[in-house]
Amino acid sequence: MGLLEENRRRQRQRFVEPQAAVVGGKRSLGAEIWRHRWIYVLILPTIAYFIVFAYLPLVGLQIAFKDFQVFRGMWESPWVGFEHFQTVFSSEKFPQLIRNTVVISLYRLVFGFPVPVLFALLLNEVRHLMFKRGVQTVTYFPHFLSWVIFAGIVINILGPSGIVNTLIMGAGGDRVNFLTNPDTFQAVVVGTGILKEFGWAAIIYLAALSSIDPQLYEAARVDGARKLRQIWHVTLPGLRPVMAVLLVLSLGTILDAGFDQIFQLQNGAVLEVGDIIDTYVYRIGLLEAQYEVATAVGLFKGIVGLVLIVTANYILRRLGQRSIW
């Protein structure tokens, strides 16, 4: 942070003060812009990209309030007010979607959040560098696989003729189909999500661990703290800022249960527990071409998501953490 401020100060100094001193007054805005014309040229394509691909689609949100007629176009279609939202909110499907989305996110938080922390703590105790690096190399590899590939591996483990079922049958048990059983589907989603990402998620904690002042451990040791006490009084407080940021952030994205993963694992048998907002929007929007309803659902999710993220950022600020913006 200090470094950042320092750089900003230097930037100001370099760009504003020396010139001002030479000219002996304020340059006109036009002259200032002209002087940096190449800088603007460098930024321009990216700004154009964001305007076309990120801001222009916002115009299309109006169809959530319109009776969209393809031949008349977006602008000519008649307004219908909140009709589509009423349809959505009063449908049976809607509470189920929200529940599935939130429940999967919360399970992921409760079970998934501690795993990387514990993993990083264990890894931090390892003195053999080769072993440590080996474990890390293996555990963060799945992060780089697509969910299509990883779902293939999951099917190979949990599918009807997969590894787990082979073991169950070998032990004389009955075949369980984890992926098409509504009772097990959410557990599979959460479990495989943890399996794919815990190694990667631990990186940030390992970075935080390596920045804890060794003198604190020394001091704790002098005070007679054993290993577990040291972890409790030194290590965990050292991790707290990172944990707070990640926790609050994930609360901010609670309506994002992860299209990519759910879509790959989803099937007709488990829609009741496995259909989330994003998969629903895809299905009714693109497959059934109910553009208005899908846009309304998407807009609802977007607004709630925005409120949550802004709130999360506010909480981070109040906690004295560095906020996202």
């Binding site: 299309g60 003729s161 990172v242 990519d260 048998a269």
Partner: protein, 315 residues
């Protein structure tokens, strides 16, 4: 005893600390528990992939006889031969290679130039420009408005949509801008005194110093394009233009789901021979699509930890 210890701390501090830290180290059993847990976690991650690899190299008969294999039994490359003789797969492979190469190139070009420009915080309008870049992280129009826009741009069913979606990631841009901030100003200053323009400074001074961050971000973008599934699913209906991941889905997942009484929502590739083929086609397809990641992994690993920390600590 306590006082005695405290006293000797002062007298022979170094000696005692050394002895203590040895005593205080994890007892042996704790070490054993830690190592066992870590080895187990490693194996849980590794073994399923080894199993898939072994299956991909075995004959189908051998697979059903021993699904838990870790080394291939009755070794054969038939499944891989099949993959290379399947036009749909090879074509989608080409599409994805195109999207990855051209996409990553454009990603890096735009991200680098914009990040450099936005590292100059004193230019007029800086805050406005920065907000234009950051806001898309918070607000999105959602799937349907994006679809309608792409349609009016003529990008639906065009492989260019695979290149243009996510052309600049605000997160990567900020990461790179922060890196540029950490380059000593004196270097740019001296180039400026020698009469270099902003473009020359970027090319001759800043970029050569930024190789690690460019490599990191390039690899992130590259892996992103390689693994991109939903751009193809959402915006390309023509199966001759499908990227690899969409075709993989129909081979790896839909085929398995058929046997499980469920149905995937994704369009299915009409591959007569695939439907009748065995587990090892699926296994070989998984390995086939993983190999490029595996090849990039050593490079990835060299940089990404640094990259993540860079983003986390200074972002």
């Amino acid at each position: 005893m306590r006082t005695g210890d405290a006293g000797s701390d002062f007298v022979e501090a170094a000696e005692v600390t050394k002895r203590r830290s040895r005593l205080d180290r994890n007892p042996l059993y704790a070490d054993i528990v830690i190592y066992v847990i870590l080895v187990l976690l490693g194996l849980i991650t590794l073994l399923p992939m080894v199993n898939v690899l072994a299956k991909s190299l075995s004959e189908s008969g051998a697979i059903s006889a021993n699904p838990l294999m870790l080394i291939p039994s009755s070794f054969t490359l038939d499944a891989y031969q099949y993959i290379f003789e399947t036009p749909v797969l090879m074509r989608s492979f080409g599409v994805t290679v195109f999207a990855t190469v051209v996409g990553t190139g454009l990603n890096l070009l735009l991200t680098t130039t914009a990040a450099y420009g936005l590292s100059k915080t004193s230019i007029p309008g800086y805050r406005l420009l920065m907000w234009i870049v950051i806001l898309p992280m918070l607000i999105g129009a959602g799937l349907i408005p994006t679809y309608l826009l792409l349609k009016s741009l003529g990008l639906i069913n065009s492989i260019w949509v695979l290149v243009f979606m996510g052309l600049v990631s605000p997160f990567n841009l900020i990461l790179m801008r922060n890196f540029f901030w950490s380059i000593p100003n004196e270097l740019e200053e001296s180039a400026r005194i020698d009469g270099a323009s902003d473009l020359k400074i970027l090319w001759h001074v800043v970029l050569p110093l930024s190789k690690p961050v460019i490599a990191t971000i390039g690899l992130f973008y590259g892996v992103g394009h390689w693994n991109d599934f939903f751009t193809g699913l959402f915006f390309i209906n023509d199966n001759s233009k499908w990227p690899l991941q969409v075709v993989l889905r129909s081979i790896i997942i839909d085929q398995s789901m058929l046997g499980m009484g469920g149905q995937g929502a994704a369009p299915t590739v009409d591959l007569q021979r695939l439907v009748v083929s065995a587990d090892n086609i699926r296994a070989a397809t998984i390995i086939f699509a993983t190999i490029p990641i595996l090849l990039a992994y050593p490079f990835l690993q060299r940089y990404f930890v640094k990259g993540i920390i860079l983003g986390a600590v200074k972002g």
